[in-house]
């Protein structure tokens, strides 16, 4: 960095920072809170819609065993919040194609889920604004909740957009999409 030092530019930017800072309005924490609250409301609405979609899927696709999870290895367990320290290996679509968000509902009947290994959950994930591009992503920890009707919510810490991402995922590592996942 030393050979990049430039006293004149240092002075120019120092003066700029001082003058520009004087023009910056006072911090407005209330506005930040309002934005975050609005995002939370949007997330709730989107999750509700996803739940409704998940409930509708079995009726349409005769999925009485579409989401027939095995009894022993359900990550969320019991239908409530659970598995607070899941470490899942998440895989996304390969690079190249433009990402198409949102669930693609299908009447195809995937294999029943015999067991959920929350260390090997894969699902499609978009890039996020922190610079993480779509591709294979490994979560060191995440939390999951069974929302009902075969719908899982993954609190990944990856999706920082504020809008939950909904898609199909493979929760038993057999390479088949077998559950609806809401990634927040």
């Amino acid at each position: 960095m030393d050979d990049l030092s430039d006293p004149r530019l240092d002075r120019v930017f120092s003066e700029y920072a001082e003058r520009a800072a004087a023009a910056v309005p006072q911090p407005d924490l209330a506005r930040v809170q309002a934005i975050a609250a609005r995002r939370r409301r949007i997330a709730v609405v989107a999750t509700t819609a996803a739940v409704a979609a998940a409930v509708a899927i079995p009726a349409v696709a005769q999925t009485t065993d579409l989401f027939a999870f095995g009894p022993a290895s359900h990550g969320p367990g019991g239908g409530g919040l659970g598995s607070p320290t899941v470490s899942a290996s998440l895989s996304t679509d390969p690079w190249g194609s433009e990402y198409s968000p949102g669930p693609v509902l299908t009447s195809a009947r995937p294999e029943g889920i015999e067991g959920t290994n929350w260390y090997n959950v894969t699902f499609t994930m978009p890039a996020n604004e922190t610079g993480c591009a779509p591709g294979r992503v490994t979560f060191e920890s995440a939390s999951a909740a069974l929302l009902g009707g075969g719908l899982y919510q993954i609190n990944s810490g990856y999706n920082s957009s504020g809008d939950p991402f909904v898609g199909y995922g493979d929760v038993d590592g057999d390479g088949q999409t077998d559950a609806v996942l809401v990634v927040t």
Binding site: V24, P27, T138, S143, G157
Partner: protein, 175 residues
Amino acid sequence: MITTGEAQAPRADPVPGFEEFYATHFTRLIVQMYAYLGDLPQAQDVVQEAFARALPRWKRLATYDDPLAWVRRVAWNLATSRWRALRRFDRFAAQHRPDHVPPPSADIVALHSALRALSPRLRRAIVMHYLAGMSLAEIADHEQVAVGTVKSWLHRGRTALAAALTDPREEHPHG
């Protein structure tokens, strides 16, 4: 890459430490985005948005060694996207947007003009280095390039800025 944990919904209420963090870094981040975007309201929006995204994740971010890096990365990415849009509509907006704020000083305008002449990558590197105080390694990590590349960007950017900011009276004091 990701370390997270909370299962509960995001909270709108400030959690301990966030308010101080926000107050400490708000102005400085805006100044950086202002230099990059050349538009103060846009810079303010970008930074507010970044902090708004940080707030519901603050419990996790607060455990990071440098939570500011997360906010700064989000702000920069938003600014980059915003700048692309601004560039497309800049001419239109300039013709139709009423100016309700006092004009910036001549020095600020001069620096904005000089920065605007740089490519986005050079401009980001310059702003990160001179205004954010980021090291070569930090910039390289942020931009996902080699340190030598950042060095080259800074060298080229500095040369261009020096030429653009040269006062003709300094070159020809007697002319």
